[in-house]
Subunit: 471 residues, 2 copies
């Protein structure tokens, strides 16, 4: 480590409190992108980030998007010294994160207000900040912004050229991202994208995620009779859309957990034995992944461990289902309609549009003439794998290993971060996914949290990575 | 018809408007028995009926019940002349109906306030009264009360001894009824029970329902992980209770629509060919039953017509299901819990407790160790068939045939009216189910209605039946 970098790390250590306060201000903005009544809050969060970047000497602005709903603005920023650095042949990085957050339901299970962040100790005595978005992704976005702030504060300058792209629709389909990247490819193209939206495999081991799963998210509604019916008068004879929905969902997996859609596994490959071995060291058994959420055995495809099922195997999940009477007591009704929110997680090699079509064909084929179906797409994105030849991979792994005092590893991730694939499609560059979240951060769940250590060492990690990427 | 009866019918015709106004007053009381916040309304409806009966010269009172929840009072009434009539060997009838109503959801689909009854014309130009409970069962209860009123107004007396038992928990399990009948068997025992809670097979044909289906109603909740999970991080590996619930529900019927629980069909018999033939005349094809609700073909067991599926075959239905995210947009969550309200309709011969146990055993056996289940019972009652030898059956059929100018028939009914079975168990007497509702009355659904003709000719029918039952 150079003396320059050491001075920046010292600044980061000395200014922990102020960095945390800035994160808390951002967390107070309820920027739920999927709920229409939070549209203004999303814009407010975007504006807050523009102000931050401008304050750091970035040319930053809100950029409208209107290819698709909901249309929350992008935040784009470029460091004022980018042009000079690029002329001098310096590396140019594009940082990506998202300022939108998941809905907060079920609200009754939050121990504190989801948008009034508070610091508390978890069961291990670690200090964590609790709020919706703490880990996914506002806390992670701020690690990079704070690293830039520290470099600028100490040296008046960044080691490399830096641009920002902060999205407001990552949790709501993100359909504007690809057209936005394409429409602004000249402006946004850099040498490599840095994405901070992933987790570490455990508390000690830093990681670069090199593969991600894509998603096909579908909402379906089955409609049968003209109105809800009395099950005494019509039960047996009238088509029950809630029952048919259950049958359709149940039929999507066979007895061994394999997904039954024709062609679903086309293009899916199994990782080499060395990689599976590495993963077994991180997760010796299913309990290692599932124990902390109160489960013990892998529920998916037979023949794969829990971590393999999430990192390298495609999946099918019921994310929501509803139909008929759900209040107190009982009502002997046959519902007229029933609906479900369903998703497939895809691995690299699978074709999301082909799978969506196979799913819809299966549903249509499963229904009697009497029952109709409506489909709503909530996005379709491919899985992704980082090129192992990326020149920036070893430098980043080294910087992470130094900060954490432990060899950094490459891992898979079961989630979808479509931007990684889209950045490659639209801008022709690789994306390195580096994140500091923990598996027990409860993202998308009540009482989401982010460790203060994740936040602080995340900032320190980026300080080192920025130096390591400089030519 | 005697002159005495003719005079009473004339009174009924002349006082239609006042009878309708009394029904509307009762319909304005939102006596939803399954919702706790309507507890006082249930008591208010019961009190309204006590006042009516007292006004007609009945000794009537509210009777508390506390064997089970929710504990809405019974209304019991005896005509002041009962003792004398019984001493003289006159027939004694016990009339049963219920004053409680179903919940009103989905409220958005009501075209008028469910508890502000209004008169309007349906598509055929028939006048109907629209309100929750109009048909099930307040309108039907009032047909009998108005018949008594007319007899008393014209002749100062009833042709037979009459007692009333009006329940407030028919739509919410009705678990207090049987213990109440048993505890008051001396007081409530009569020669025959008259139950008015059923429908006519069409607009012209009066009917006595001679078989009913029982119900096993179960609510189940599956619980898996400690909290909702991110489907990217855990999808495939974590048990998904919404998926498991779908699999359990789907597995309850085989490909031919038969219910798969071991022993489920024990004791079930198929009606003789003559009865099936009679039913085919009323319902020549599936469309005859299903067409008016927008369906066309029987969805249950292969080999049985739609009407057979509802009148003489046991069924399984999903009455409600819920789990995970159901608001706008999409949330890639694996729910920690999912629940369903399920019911079996049973025919005479099936054992409800044995079937409940078979169901629970099947659910438990279908779950992995990681996933637990909670069961809530919402009632278990057997199916019922009236004795064909009942002495009161032919007299009642004749009275109905005269009023409607068409031969009255005996039919089955897919619904559960546990009181019929319980009256036989506890009081050792038969129950005749005579009702004037129509299949398109939308009971249990938004915009429930009762035809003004059903109401008026229902009153007239009882006027004749009371005379016909006199010795």
């Amino acid at each position: 480590m150079t003396e320059k970098t050491a001075a920046v790390l010292q600044y980061v250590d000395a200014n922990r409190k102020e960095a945390l306060e800035r994160l808390m201000a951002l967390l107070r903005i309820p920027s739920i992108s999927t709920q229409k009544n939070h549209k203004d809050d999303c814009r407010r969060a975007a504006g807050w980030l523009v102000d931050e970047l401008q304050g750091l000497g970035f040319t930053a602005s809100l950029r409208e998007v209107s290819w698709a709903e909901p249309g929350h603005p992008m935040v784009v920023g470029h460091d004022e010294d980018n042009a000079g650095k690029k002329d001098a042949g310096q590396t140019h990085v594009l940082f990506y994160g998202h300022y939108d957050v998941q809905p907060t339901d079920p609200d009754a299970l939050w121990q504190t207000d989801p948008f009034e962040p508070c610091i508390r100790k978890d069961g291990e005595g670690r200090e964590v900040i609790v709020a919706r978005g703490a880990s996914d992704d506002k806390g992670q976005v701020m690690t990079f912004i704070e690293a830039c702030r520290a470099w600028k504060a100490v040296h008046g300058d960044l080691p490399v050229a830096v641009s920002f792209l902060l999205e407001g629709e990552e949790e709501s389909g993100g359909e504007n991202l690809l057209p936005f990247l394409r429409a602004n490819s000249e402006e946004l193209k850099a040498d490599v994208a840095l994405i901070c939206d992933t987790a570490m495999p455990d508390r000690q081991t830093p990681a670069i995620t090199t593969s991600l799963r894509g998603t096909v998210a579908e909402e379906i509604e089955l409609v049968a009779a003209r109105q809800d019916l009395h099950s005494g008068m019509y039960g047996n004879a009238a088509a029950n859309p809630a029952f048919l929905l259950c049958r359709i969902i149940s039929g999507l997996r066979d007895e061994t957990g394999r997904i039954t859609l024709p062609g679903f596994y086309d293009g899916v490959s199994i990782p080499d034995e060395r990689t599976r071995q590495q993963w077994r060291q991180l997760y010796p058994d299913d309990l290692a992944l599932l124990g902390e959420v109160g489960l013990s055995r892998a529920a998916g495809e037979q023949g794969f461990s829990a971590i393999e099922q999430t990192w390298c195997r495609p999946s099918f999940e019921v994310n929501g289902i509803g139909g008929g009477y759900r209040d107190d007591g009982f009502k002997t009704v046959i519902p007229a309609r029933a609906s479900a929110k369903l998703s497939f997680r895809l691995v690299p090699g699978q074709d999301p549009l082909k799978i969506r079509e196979a799913f819809r064909a299966y549903v249509r084929r499963s229904l009697p003439d009497d029952v109709s179906v409506n489909f709503i797409s909530h996005g379709a994105s491919a899985g992704f794998a980082v090129s192992r030849e990326s020149a920036f991979l070893p430098a980043t792994l080294s910087a992470l290993s130094e900060e954490w005092g432990k060899q950094a590893v490459t891992t898979g991730c079961g989630g979808s971060i479509p931007v990684a694939e889209e950045v490659r499609d639209a801008l022709g560059m690789d994306a390195l996914m580096v994140g500091f979240a923990q598996a027990d951060d409860r993202i998308h769940s009540p009482n989401e949290q982010y460790g203060l250590e994740s936040f602080h060492r995340g900032i320190r990690s980026w300080v080192r990575i920025l130096a390591a990427l400089a030519r």
